[in-house]
C-alpha cells in the first residue's frame, strides 16, 4: 500500500478567539491531486501554512512524506514546492534571477531555470525584471518557482485565481503533468470548475472544517440529483422539462417527450460541485 505524501490529523489553528481550522484530517497520495474547495476565509490558506511549516498547528499534527512536521522542518521543506496566493516574487530581480535564487536555497547548482521558463511560456522574458510582468505572467512565475526543486509535494494556493482562461488552462495542464510524474498536489481553490477538472478527490472546507471529502463523481452521486433536461417547442416559445433520473416512471416520461414532434433538444444534467457545496453548507463559494 502506498504511504500518503501528505497526512493531516485533527489539525487546528486559531487566530486569537477565531478558530480558522478545526480538526481537519485528510491524506494525499503521491501522484494524487486533492482539491480543497471552500469560500474565502474557510481555512484553506491556514491549512497550507501549517502543512508547509510556516505556522505551528495549535492542535493535531501533520506528516509530509512520512516525516512529522515540528520545530525544524528544513528537511521536509527541501521536498516541497509552494505557490502562494499572493504573488510574492522579487520584483527588482529578473525572472531567471528569481528562479536561480530560489534554487540556490535548495542547494541546486544547475536548476534548469530556462527550461522551466520555456515550459511556462516565459523564456523570452527571462532577463526582464518581474516588475514589468503582467498578472498572468507573474502567476506563471509563481508556478515555475514552486517547481524549481522538482518537489515531491506541491501546495498550490489559488493557482489560477483571476487569470484569463488561456493562462488558467496552461497552468492546469502543468499541474496535471506534475501529478503525472508522481507529485502529491494539494490545491486550494474556490473555483468549482477547476476543482472538478483537476482533482482526483475534493474536500469541501467551510468555517475551518471539512464537511465532505471524496472524488467529485462520488460527491455528485451521493449528494446531487442527475436529471434529463428536454426542451420543446411551445407555440412561439420554448418549454423545458427537467426529469429526475431513477424516479419511478421517469423512463416512460422521457420516451414520451422524446417522441414528441415539438422536441428541440435533450441533455443529461448532473449536479455541480457548487450546488453540492451549497446544499452541504448553506452558502456559496464566492
Amino acid at each position: 500500500m502506498t504511504s500518503p505524501a501528505i497526512k493531516a490529523e485533527n489539525l487546528s489553528y486559531s487566530y486569537g478567539e477565531i478558530e480558522a481550522v478545526r480538526d481537519v484530517s485528510f491524506e494525499v497520495l503521491p501522484g494524487e491531486i486533492l482539491g480543497f474547495l471552500g469560500p474565502n476565509g474557510a481555512g484553506k490558506s491556514t491549512t497550507i501554512k501549517m502543512l508547509t511549516g510556516l505556522l505551528p498547528p495549535k492542535g493535531g499534527h501533520a506528516e509530509i512524506l512520512g516525516e512529522r512536521l515540528g520545530r525544524d522542518n528544513s528537511g521536509i521543506q527541501a521536498q516541497i514546492g509552494v505557490c502562494f496566493e499572493e504573488k510574492n516574487l522579487y520584483l527588482d530581480m529578473s525572472a531567471i534571477e528569481n528562479l536561480d535564487f530560489h534554487a540556490s536555497l535548495f542547494g541546486i547548482k544547475n536548476p534548469g531555470s530556462m527550461d522551466i521558463l520555456r515550459r511556462m511560456g516565459l523564456a523570452d522574458r527571462a532577463k526582464d525584471r518581474v516588475e514589468s510582468f503582467s498578472k498572468g505572467m507573474r502567476q506563471r512565475m509563481m508556478i515555475a518557482r514552486a517547481f524549481i526543486n522538482k518537489p515531491k509535494v506541491l501546495f498550490l494556493d489559488e493557482p489560477t485565481s483571476a487569470l484569463d482562461p488561456v493562462t488558467s488552462a496552461q497552468i492546469r495542464e502543468t499541474i496535471k503533468a506534475e501529478a503525472g510524474r508522481g507529485a502529491a498536489v494539494l490545491l486550494t481553490t474556490h473555483d468549482m470548475f477547476e476543482a472538478d477538472q483537476l482533482s482526483d478527490r475534493v474536500a469541501f472546507i467551510n468555517e475551518g472544517k471539512i464537511v465532505a471529502l471524496d472524488s467529485a463523481e462520488n460527491l455528485k452521486l451521493e449528494h446531487g440529483q442527475r436529471s434529463v433536461r428536454i426542451r420543446l417547442r411551445n407555440g412561439d416559445g420554448v418549454r423545458e422539462e427537467h426529469i429526475p433520473l431513477g424516479d419511478d416512471g421517469s423512463a416512460a416520461k422521457i420516451a414520451e417527450l422524446a417522441s414528441s414532434p415539438d422536441l428541440m433538444t435533450i441533455h443529461t444534467e448532473e449536479a455541480t460541485l457548487e450546488a453540492i457545496f451549497i446544499k452541504l453548507t448553506g452558502r456559496g463559494l464566492a
Binding site: 508547509t52 511549516g53 510556516l54 512524506l65 516525516e67 525544524d72 528544513s74 528537511g75 521536509i76 521543506q77 527541501a78 521536498q79 516541497i80 509552494v82 502562494f84 499572493e86 510574492n88 516574487l89 522579487y90 520584483l91 527588482d92 530581480m93 534571477e97 535564487f101 530560489h102 540556490s104 536555497l105 535548495f106 542547494g107 525584471r129 518557482r145 526543486n149
Partner: protein
C-alpha cells in the same frame, strides 16, 4: 530527512540576493552615492584653519589708562622698575591675537557691542584702574560687556585677560572669581592648536553615512515584509535565523564599507589609529543595523517605515552636534546609545587618542550596539513569524 544544502550556502545565497536587490534600487543607489559625494565635498569645503583673533572693545583708551597710571605712580614715588613694568603691561601689545577697539566712554562701548557691528565683547576699565590696582584698593571693578551669542569660554578668556593685565601692573592677581574649570569631554585645552571645523566634522560625516544606510536597510527590510517575499524563502530549507543573519551581515557590511570609504577619502586613517577606527565603525554599523531592523519591521507601508526610521534615528544623531558645539555634553546626551561610539570616533580622529583612551567608550558602545542589535533581531523575527 536532511536538506542537501548547508546553512552557509543558504546564507551566501541570501546575501547575494540582498546585494542584487540593493543594487537594483535606483533610489538607494542614488542616495548612497549622493551622500558619499556630499559628505566628502562638505569635508573639503570646510575651513581647515582656525581664526584665533578676537576683537575686543576697551574703554577708556589704553593710553588714557596708562597716562593716568603713570601720574599716579609718580605721585606715589614709584621706582623706575615699577614705571617700566607699567609700560610692559601695555595690554594692547601683551596678548597675541587680540585686536583692540578703543572707546572714549563706557556708554560708547556698550552701544557698539549692542549694535554688534565690529565687536561683540568688551571691557570697561575705571580710569583709575592702574592706581587702584597698584595701591591695592578694595573693590576694583572692571565690567565685561558681552553679546548674548558670545560663548561662555570666550567670556572666561576675557576675564583671564583682565586678570593677566592686573597681575602685570600690581604683581598680584586681582580678586576676580572665575568659574570652576569644566571638563570638556569632546575636547581639551588646545590653546595654540585649535581644531578646525573640517577636522571636527569627520565623526559627523561618518554618522551621516550610517544614518543613510539605516534608511536604506530599513526600506529593504520593509519591502521584503510588505511584499511577503520572506514567506517564500521560509518554505525552503532556509530558517528565520538564516534570513536575519544575512540581513544583519549585509547591512552591517554595507554601512561599514561606506563609512570606511568616507573616512578614507577624508584622510582619517593613520598607521596608528586604523584598527581602532575600524572597531568604532563596526560598532556604529551594528548599532544602526539594529535600528534598521526595528524600523523595517515596524512600518505597514513605505510612509510608516519612514516614520519609524525617523523616530528612531533622529535621537541617535543628536550626540553628533555636541562635536560642533564645544562644552560638556549634557547627561541626557551621554545616555543616548550612539554617544559612546561617537565619543570614541571623535577621540580617535580629532585627538589621535589611543586604545587606553577610548577602550571605555568602545566597550560601552559595544554594549549599546548589542542591545539594539538584539532588539532588532527580536522585533524582526517576531514580524516574520507573524506574516
Amino acid at each position: 530527512m536532511k536538506p542537501a544544502v548547508s546553512r552557509l550556502d543558504i546564507i551566501g545565497a541570501l546575501l547575494k540576493k540582498e546585494l542584487i536587490a540593493y543594487s537594483r534600487n535606483r533610489l538607494y543607489l542614488f542616495l548612497t552615492l549622493l551622500t558619499l559625494v556630499l559628505v566628502v565635498v562638505m569635508f573639503w569645503v570646510m575651513p581647515d584653519t582656525v581664526d584665533e583673533t578676537i576683537t575686543l572693545a576697551v574703554s577708556p583708551p589704553v593710553e588714557t589708562i596708562l597716562a593716568e597710571g603713570r601720574e599716579a605712580l609718580l605721585a606715589m614715588g614709584a621706582s623706575e622698575e615699577q614705571l617700566a613694568a607699567l609700560t610692559e603691561a601695555n595690554i594692547a601689545e601683551a596678548q597675541d591675537g587680540v585686536i583692540l577697539l578703543e572707546f572714549e566712554t563706557e556708554a560708547a562701548l556698550v552701544e557698539a557691542i549692542e549694535a554688534q557691528e565690529d565687536v561683540s565683547i568688551g571691557i570697561a576699565f575705571p580710569e583709575t584702574f592702574v592706581r587702584d590696582v597698584a595701591t591695592g584698593a578694595d573693590g576694583v571693578s572692571v565690567t565685561i560687556y558681552s553679546a548674548a551669542a558670545i560663548p561662555d569660554e570666550l567670556q572666561r578668556a576675557v576675564k583671564s585677560f583682565v586678570r593677566e593685565a592686573a597681575y602685570q601692573i600690581a604683581g598680584k592677581p586681582l580678586p576676580i572669581t572665575l568659574p570652576a574649570a569644566e571638563t570638556i569631554v569632546l575636547g581639551e585645552d588646545r590653546v595654540g592648536e585649535q581644531i578646525s571645523i573640517r577636522d571636527k566634522i569627520v565623526p559627523m560625516l561618518a554618522f551621516m553615512m550610517l544614518l543613510m544606510e539605516a534608511f536604506s536597510m530599513a526600506s529593504l527590510i520593509s519591502v521584503e515584509m510588505l511584499r511577503r517575499t520572506v514567506t517564500a524563502v521560509l518554505v525552503t530549507p532556509a530558517r528565520i535565523a538564516d534570513v536575519l543573519i544575512a540581513k544583519a551581515t549585509f547591512s552591517t557590511g554595507l554601512a561599514f564599507a561606506q563609512v570606511a570609504i568616507v573616512l578614507g577619502l577624508v584622510g582619517a586613517f593613520t598607521a596608528e589609529n586604523w584598527w581602532l577606527l575600524m572597531m568604532a565603525i563596526v560598532i556604529g554599523a551594528m548599532t544602526f543595523t539594529g535600528v534598521a531592523m526595528i524600523a523595517g519591521a515596524g512600518g505597514k507601508d513605505f510612509l510608516g517605515q519612514m516614520f519609524y526610521t525617523m523616530m528612531l534615528t533622529v535621537p541617535l544623531i543628536i550626540p553628533t552636534f555636541s562635536v560642533l558645539f564645544p562644552g560638556t555634553a549634557a547627561l541626557w546626551i551621554q545616555v543616548i546609545p550612539t554617544y559612546p561610539v561617537l565619543s570614541a570616533l571623535v577621540d580617535i580622529t580629532v585627538y589621535q587618542a589611543g586604545w587606553t583612551d577610548v577602550w571605555g567608550s568602545l566597550a560601552l558602545g559595544t554594549g549599546w550596539a548589542a542591545v539594539l542589535f538584539l532588539a532588532g533581531w527580536f522585533v524582526l523575527s517576531r514580524k516574520v513569524r507573524s506574516l
